[in-house]
């Protein structure tokens, strides 16, 4: 190849050489790649002079794309920020419905896939074909695991009526949830008592015998002054207080459904990006398996990995913002 390099002192013979040289490197395994060297190798597009130029152009392109992605997602982050600023109680209320364990598992799965994606870039650069294929496979497997976990989370929410807008009909009250009971056992008990008292009151209104109904109300014994532990978590979650939907009994905060609108939009858009990433990595897996990537030509792996890291990056923010609300 070095002879042909010397020949290409002027541009005309060099450009002419692109097509002629290409078939010679059709095999393009690791060693061919070393020899291909910018003279119409099989993966040097005709509108680029060199592999370096081709790589840099692609890299600039993917960074510009990532820039638009960051701004794209920032719209949803803005909706989140504004709404959380306006209604912190909605977020405290809703986060009890999310499964932190599943969110944490998904975080770890995405982080591992990010490692394998970054490792795959290294493998492509060093023409380690088997490791490259393996790392892409692990990345795809992790991405699929993420989507399966997400599927179960979504399914659970559909089942429990935790949907955005008018579809929001939670089957459980927040203080009946294990996550709430575990964190605030006294508050959960207190909310239970208040609910019973309110139901007894309703029954008393309906029933013609006031004495018996009054006894039922007294039995519940909610008229003792509630402690801080009993009251505070309920007010913070909008179950009691001015933001509660129903002022006569423990209920859900007004506009609680908006959280699930934000939740489904943010995780949904992220999930679509994960699905897109799976598609891209399957395509790259097939190409890597053919041995197309090497030290001169690893751009596609690098660009896909950069995209994948951005998807990971967004999840790094989504996880604490949605699942880890205090």
């Amino acid at each position: 190849m070095s002879e042909s390099t010397s020949e290409s002192a002027t541009s005309a013979p060099k450009k002419g050489g692109h097509g002629a040289a290409a078939p010679a490197h059709g095999g393009h395994d690791a060693h061919d790649a070393h020899g291909a060297h910018g003279h119409g190798g099989p993966h040097l597009a005709h509108h680029f002079d060199t592999y370096q130029q081709q790589f840099d152009a692609g890299k600039l392109g993917i960074w510009l794309f990532l820039l638009t992605e960051v701004l794209f997602f920032s719209g949803l982050f803005c909706a989140y920020t504004v709404y959380r600023g306006m209604h912190p109680e909605v977020f405290v209320y809703a986060h009890y419905f999310l499964n932190t364990t599943m969110g944490a598992i998904n975080t770890c799965v995405l982080l591992i896939s990010s490692l394998t994606a970054a490792w795959a870039v290294r493998n492509a650069q060093l023409a380690q074909r088997k490791l490259l294929v393996l790392n892409i496979l692990i990345t795809i497997a992790c991405a699929c695991t993420f989507m399966v976990v997400k599927f179960f989370e979504y399914e659970h929410k559909f089942h429990d009526g935790l949907l955005p807008g008018p579809a929001f009909h939670p089957t459980e009250q927040v203080w009946e949830l294990e996550t709430f009971k575990h964190k605030h056992p006294e508050a959960a008990e207190y909310a239970e008592k208040l609910t019973k008292a309110a139901e007894a009151k309703d029954a008393a209104k309906a029933a013609p015998a006031p004495a018996a109904a009054g006894a039922a109300v007294a039995e519940t014994g909610v008229f003792e002054r509630p402690t801080e532990e009993q009251l505070e978590p309920l007010i913070k979650a909008g179950v009691l207080g001015p933001t509660a939907e129903d002022q006569t009994r423990p209920s859900k905060p007004r506009n609680a459904h908006v959280f699930f609108g934000i939740y489904f939009f943010m995780t949904g858009l992220h999930g679509i990006h994960v699905l897109g990433g799976i598609g891209v990595f399957i395509w790259l897996l097939l190409r890597a398996n053919k041995g197309e990537f090497g030290p001169k030509y690893f751009g596609p792996i690098d660009y896909a990995a950069l995209y994948w890291h951005l998807v990971d990056l967004i999840w790094i923010y989504l996880f604490p913002l949605l699942y880890l609300i205090h």
Partner: protein
Amino acid sequence: MSNEDTPENADKEPKSMQGSSEEQPPEPREDATRPNPALEPTEQDEPEEAARHEPPPPADGHDGHSDHGLAHTMPVWMLIAVLGALMGLTVLTVSVTSFDLGSEGNLVVAMVIATIKAALVVTFFMHLLWDKKFHLILFLTAVLFVVLFLSMSITDRGEYQKNIDLYQSTTSAAAK
């Protein structure tokens, strides 16, 4: 790891890629600095380096730096160390939610940890530490505009909080 053909060279190459110009990757990197016009006189990207090797390089003839020279190669230990740090920070951010750190303390801590994690991903996994500075500027520009976007929205929301409170007090009074 068994099929890494040049494992010991692989980690050294990024450092020397700027000046290397020879064809054979397994050769020791010392050769990279030795002027050897016979090998590849037109392979230089940087004009001054090209001048060092061969005075008149054709304007259109500069190819990539060297065989592995298109971009930085991450050493495996660094990748795994970054993953370890990210995992550790994930455990930290989950465990810190069980402590009450004041009204907005938990949110601030969670966001600080998330930002450290994001910085690790961007710096190492996304190669920005070794990449062209222009890409860093691009990314930081995006971050700057996100910060502007969010902060303007928060300020704007604060301006209208009075109206919202008024609306809500009247509607909740009506509900009673």
